[in-house]
Point group: C3
Chain length 147, copies 3
């Protein structure tokens, strides 16, 4: 069992790789928000508009990216912890890797269809659900294993 | 000390169990929001209303669940990391398990009194404070231990 | 390699220390929000105003603290996980400690210039960027190492 906590552990390496890629993806939402704010001249802090002294403004395209960012926090950060518990249940490397890849892919597609190139529902609902139930599955497995 | 990083470690098992239960609890806020959105026909994305073409609408019952969700992120996710540090300070199994259970219970009651069956203050304040100070205590203990 | 997972590991101790300090910093945003709500009598939940029965009110000083809190979630919580992966890449203790200290300092200054004593841009932009690129650097190093 001790071998789980070793960087020789292939599953831990896969976990760290997925987590780092997802972290960069979450961080990328910040410049994406900034781009939308500049494009639509929709700033929320009075000190951000410089000498132009624009009034704070809410723009739907900015809010959409912000909601996608919040949805990342709600789902990806929970995944960070749940998947860490899951790898400690000693799952098969192939299956756990598959779950991780599905989750990562689902989150990228989610942001794409929600905040970059808007595709009609149920595209967003479906991609969100894939990531969601992957996480639920892993959490339930972890609970059963350590109960 | 190496025994801390082992799934034989009873405290790590308790930690993984609590974390997974709390993760499911956070994830559950998403369908709760969806239920309130449908119940009140208060959708925020234009593509969500389908052929009905409803205007985006803000409804207090939806916002309440969303605030409870955000409060979970602010508190539960910090707990995930703080309690991980705390178990590495080698606390007594009984006391740490008690703290974890208090936190989990407080967060469930918090959501109940805030977003499901609204109970007058200070019910919400008190349950939030219980979880809050449990986390503060563990963070302070971790700092003292590793300083 | 196994020595990474040991509380004898100096870098792990530094990590746990930084993480606990940052956790307390994030938690501190809640009373800061409460202070602004009381100062400006700007409550959002009808049950919070007691017998005064104030109407829910949005106040810019409250929203500013709340945005700083959300920015903490977006950046600090991602750091929690990314820096955990980074310490497993076996970096030099001195350099990793320096990165952690820069990040912690940047986040404290960020909150100061955004929500406590407002300083004109680019103060906020710069402090946010320092923490941001520290995290991006560590995530990229982790990906390269475990790929």
């Amino acid at each position: 069992m001790a071998s789980i906590f070793s960087t020789e552990n292939e599953l831990l390496r896969t976990y760290l790789l997925c987590v780092s890629v997802l972290a960069l993806k979450v961080l990328f939402m910040a410049p994406l928000t900034a781009i939308q704010r500049i494009k639509n001249m929709a700033f929320i802090n009075s000190e951000d508009t410089g000498p132009m002294k624009l009034k704070p403004k809410i723009h739907e395209d900015v809010e959409r990216v912000r909601r996608a960012h919040l949805n990342d926090l709600e789902n990806i950060i929970v995944f960070f912890v749940v998947s860490f518990g899951y790898i400690l249940t000693n799952p098969s490397l192939a299956f756990a890797t598959l779950l991780f890849r599905i989750f990562v892919a689902a989150r990228f597609v989610y942001t794409l269809v929600y905040a970059i190139y808007i595709i009609p529902q149920p595209a967003r609902f479906f991609t969100c659900a894939v990531g969601y139930f992957t996480t639920v599955y892993m959490a339930v497995q972890t609970i059963i294993h350590f109960m």
